[in-house]
Symmetry: C2
Subunit: 451 residues, 2 copies
């Protein structure tokens, strides 16, 4: 019987991470890691599709509303047709001329498209019985090229060039898949480096990272130069000279400031400076790169779409491309980004962390290794040890490497108990928390009245 999509079910999921200063950086002092989460319901008894946009708290409801605004394009469609050609839906969604006005291809609407498109890939991989990385690695190069929208790209990458890259990527793919299953994909960890942590916690977590097999760590910088110098010195002493230490300013600086500040930290041998300035500032990144060499320049987690990535590469503005699984319009647009990076010979070191970003992005890097760039040289996926327990198929880290997922799908599914607990504001955690806050406010105003 023909299976159809019957609904986009959405959930506003928020975790109270700000209370522990997990995830604190120079621009984001108090994030509540959140997901605008969706389930593609199907009319048969088979698997459902799961996807989400990662946000950091307020506005997660707006993101949910944006996902719901897409339902007219999705509900009633054939599951088999969607899974056979996710690119058709992707084009419909980015091509909806009325919704396009709200971007175009950026921000809330674009991330909503990414959540839905990623859910379709999750559904497709489950129905195929493969983890997504393997589905992509096994796919025909011609079909993969058909999944990419080359509009606004063809001055940097043509369909013929993409096909050639993918065909070349197939050579040796079976051997690399075996190696991937044996060894996993290298990770680096941001866990020691959050701004809100004490120096003691920084030292302890940095040494733990090395003991756990990581060969790269990352520190947040950009709030206070004297602090940064102390923290970088402390971290470098803790890990020794051979561990790569990236630094991350989370867009805090102007161009000149970025160059001066990075150079002031150069003595601690930072491997890359991440998000030195606005992700929109292509020319600014190019200037910074010229000004901070040999420190590398990395960005991407807030880069809105393939068009900006194209220009970062054309302008020679970055050394490291930090693809994000949930910022752009899903797997299809990220295929374009991976192809662009391969064309320009720039390593992709994905952004992850947050809620479920590790779970998703590992599939894209593993596909890239097995069947596109064919290498893990100078490539690492970010790893942050937060919130994995909420996923049905959480990432597994072993000796500083992501193990290759083996379950079918895109590893995007949240546990039912998580949804019941962390749905905002009605889930068990928030209902109790908001009731406590109400109670505290009542007590406070009663005190004032009786004072």
């Amino acid at each position: 019987m023909l299976s159809l999509i019957t609904a986009i079910e959405t959930h506003d999921i928020r975790f109270p991470t700000s209370r522990e200063l997990d995830g604190s950086d120079a621009m984001n002092p108090d994030p509540d890691y959140s997901a605008a989460y969706l389930v593609l319901r199907t009319s048969d008894g088979g698997p459902q599709g799961h996807g989400f946009t990662f946000t950091i708290g307020r506005g997660n409801d707006v993101q949910v509303a944006a996902i719901q605004a897409l339902r007219g394009h999705v509900v009633g469609r054939s599951v088999a047709e969607l899974c056979a050609d996710p690119g058709a839906l992707y084009r419909d969604l980015i091509g909806d001329s009325q919704l396009r006005w709200l971007g175009p291809e950026k921000g809330v609407m674009h991330m909503a498209i990414g959540a839905v498109v990623n859910a379709v890939w999750d559904l497709a991989a489950k129905r195929e019985g493969k983890p997504l990385w393997q589905l992509l690695a096994d796919a025909d190069p011609e079909w993969l090229v058909s999944q990419v929208d080359f509009r606004y790209l063809s001055d940097a990458l043509t369909p013929d060039e993409a096909l050639e890259l993918l065909r070349r990527g197939r050579e040796g793919a079976a051997e690399r898949a075996t190696e991937l299953l044996r060894r996993g994909y290298p990770a680096y960890t941001t866990s020691p480096g959050w701004l809100g942590y004490s120096d003691e916690k920084l030292i302890r977590l940095a040494q733990q990272a090395v003991a756990d097999g990581f060969t790269q760590i990352k520190l947040k910088v950009g709030a206070d130069l004297a602090d940064d110098i102390r923290r970088c010195r402390t971290a470098r002493a803790a890990v020794g000279p051979d561990v790569r230490m990236a630094i991350d300013a989370n867009q805090r600086w102007n161009v000149a400031e970025a160059i001066e500040w990075t150079n002031a930290l150069a003595e601690f041998d930072p491997y890359w400076i991440e998000e030195p300035t606005s992700p929109d500032d292509i020319l600014g990144h190019a200037a910074i790169r010229r000004g901070v060499s040999p420190v590398k320049v990395a960005t991407g987690e807030h880069v809105q779409n393939r068009i900006v990535f194209k220009q970062l590469l054309q302008a020679g503005a970055i050394d490291v491309l930090q693809l994000d699984s949930a910022r752009v319009a899903g797997v299809n647009e990220n295929l374009a980004v991976l192809l662009l990076a391969a064309k320009f010979g720039i390593p992709v070191c994905p952004h992850a962390g947050g809620v479920g970003l590790c779970e998703l992005v590992q599939h894209l890097s593993m596909f890239d290794y097995v069947a596109l760039s064919g290498t893990i040289e100078d490539r690492v996926i970010e790893y942050v040890d937060h919130l994995h327990e909420h996923f049905v198929d959480p990432v597994v880290i072993d000796d500083g490497h992501y193990r290759a997922p083996s379950l079918p799908g895109f590893s995007a599914e949240l546990r039912p108990a998580t949804i019941a607990t962390y749905t905002y504001p009605t889930g068990a955690f928030w209902a109790a928390d908001l009731a406590d806050a109400d109670l505290a406010a009542t007590v406070e105003s009663a005190k004032e009245l009786t004072a």
Copy 2:
């Protein structure tokens, strides 16, 4: 008594413009011009603030939700403090780290900030008893500089340079204000050129435009080259050689295509090619500009923020900057854009049309003429003769010029009857229309059942 903001009241207003093909172009075949409209309610009996984001239909509800997501920053604030320093609110809104994740500074969230910030300026100008253009032209240069956020701009424009530009702009301002009140600000018209119109309608409206005193018209292009050649030839013959004729591709092309297509229309002497490709493609616009000279390159209505405008100017990518009143974060960010344009010596010819964009943007150009760039040479504001009757203080066009508004405020207020009629989906028009659609669907399915 201290007046406070008591609420952000929002309205989802949609006009059924798609039924007449008003506004049809190569990317937007069937827009329903819409406004995510808001009223800042105050606790005294004085004026309220009005603002909106312009959209083209679907997703207007998402935009309304985004405006509501800002209410925690606005409700409870002192009206006097807000009006004395709109920049403080602007910084709070773009600096909300959790909401910033949804951009940053782009798309749905950023346009919502623009709507709220513009409403504050409307309120400030009403309380000052001046039209906004005059409030800005009378303001101290130092205060205007304090209204700009220079983050990510200082490699192109410093506060000192901005101050110098504004001080120079004050020289002769009184004479220019007199001239503005006498003559108005030059306009051009897009009314003849929508893609959906017949050649007869194109000829009639083009000739009418010249008779009405316009010295520039604009044609939509980009769907079909043979059609475009015919329509450009037809329009050029209708208006003669001395009227400027701009063409507008609404982002339809890749870079190479933009160059070829524009050059194929060069024999009809187009004045500028507008939005030849993605508004995100700074390097692409630079390449197109080199490839189509002497045809000028114009863009801006979809340019997301000051950072992209900065780069378009740094890269020499545009001849004409098309500022939009409701795409970026309101008057404050548009002050930055006007300052950047003045610094680089590039004329600003604002985008308008839609719902209320003419009403808003005239104030910004008039301020620029009186007290910043000091010139109207090669400057025209777009004019489209649609939907002005819905505004309390509609634009007045006389002999191809915008008359300077004289009523206090930002001309942003919709008539109560418009809100009652065009609120979606409950207003009188939509309730009746959707009931008709239900009836038609019932009749259709009854026919099928009895067939």
